[in-house]
Symmetry: C2
Subunit: 183 residues, 2 copies
């Protein structure tokens, strides 16, 4: 069974918020810290978070076996001591995206937008994890999470800049970009 | 946002259970009636259901645009007055299935097993709806629901028989088959 993870935004937490950008759509209430917790348990160490985003690691939706093999050969896990910076980028796609057939979404995602291919260029420096939340009734469809060493921050800017120029991103209707540093 | 639906199994409900077969894996507690309710609200008209299965209509995971067009041209909706019989078949697939890449699952689902193509042969007589529940932490990955007129029952037997012979079904590790009649 897929396991859930909760991102609590508030005034306490293991990650300090360096910046919050509303890339598209409605803002999230500003917070100074993020606490990441596995499961659906109530947050610890808080009086009350201002908001909680919940997601889970689900099966892959677009990657082919060849892409998956490439990713696994090159990627490193979360929690590397040197990867003190992170980005928490929740994303919601439009009804037009979700109404497309699987082959249409795949073609936009990879053949037109090279989503996986772009990300591969930044491995292993930029570690990433995708959490699904659309089917949970959450305000976003995905929570994307990236971890990298401070000297890789320019590479991360390049990565998100390239993704935001793709055909796929025309279907993103809400996106918030929080940059974090581990305390 | 995808909307949820709940199938309550108990001693009251709009559908009477005609038969319950444990096709594979662990049984469900036997019930005499099923009540189908939209949303996550508690059931009405029951003291307490013996079990509740919850799912939601999500985006399509395998169908191409061409398959989707064929389906939409030929299928009819749920709730047709003549379609007094139904089948409620919750299914759980194995970890091996979920560990496959998208192209591998698609190839098994359609190129090897002709899942969509088989179902098309029984449209519009056998109306169908798929509800997703794996990401909800439910005991099954899918709840499949079929509605048909009593004289189409033999055709429905043929349909489920053909699907259970496919390569895709080797990945099904739990399946319960309840046949119902509308009261």
């Amino acid at each position: 069974m897929p396991s859930r993870i909760a991102f609590h935004g508030g005034s306490l937490g293991a990650w300090q918020v360096l910046s919050t950008a509303v890339v598209r759509g409605e803002a999230l209430a500003p917070v100074s810290h993020i606490e990441v917790q596995p499961g659906a348990a109530p947050p610890t160490g808080f009086v009350e978070p201002r908001w909680t985003l919940t997601g889970l690691i689900s099966n892959l939706r677009y990657a082919t076996r060849r892409e998956l093999t490439d990713l696994r050969q090159r990627q490193e896990g979360l929690g590397r001591p040197a990867a003190r910076q992170a980005a928490l980028i929740p994303i919601k796609k439009s009804a037009a995206w979700w109404g497309l057939a699987q082959d249409e979404r795949r073609a936009i995602f990879e053949e037109q937008s090279a989503h996986t291919a772009i990300g591969l260029n930044y491995l292993p420096a930029i570690a990433r994890q995708l959490y699904h939340c659309r089917d949970l009734g959450e305000p976003f469809d995905f929570i994307t999470w990236f971890e990298y060493a401070p000297n890789e921050a320019p590479a991360f800017e390049e990565l998100v800049g390239r993704l935001r120029e793709t055909a796929e991103w025309a279907y993103v209707e809400r996106e918030i970009d929080l940059r974090l540093v581990r305390l």
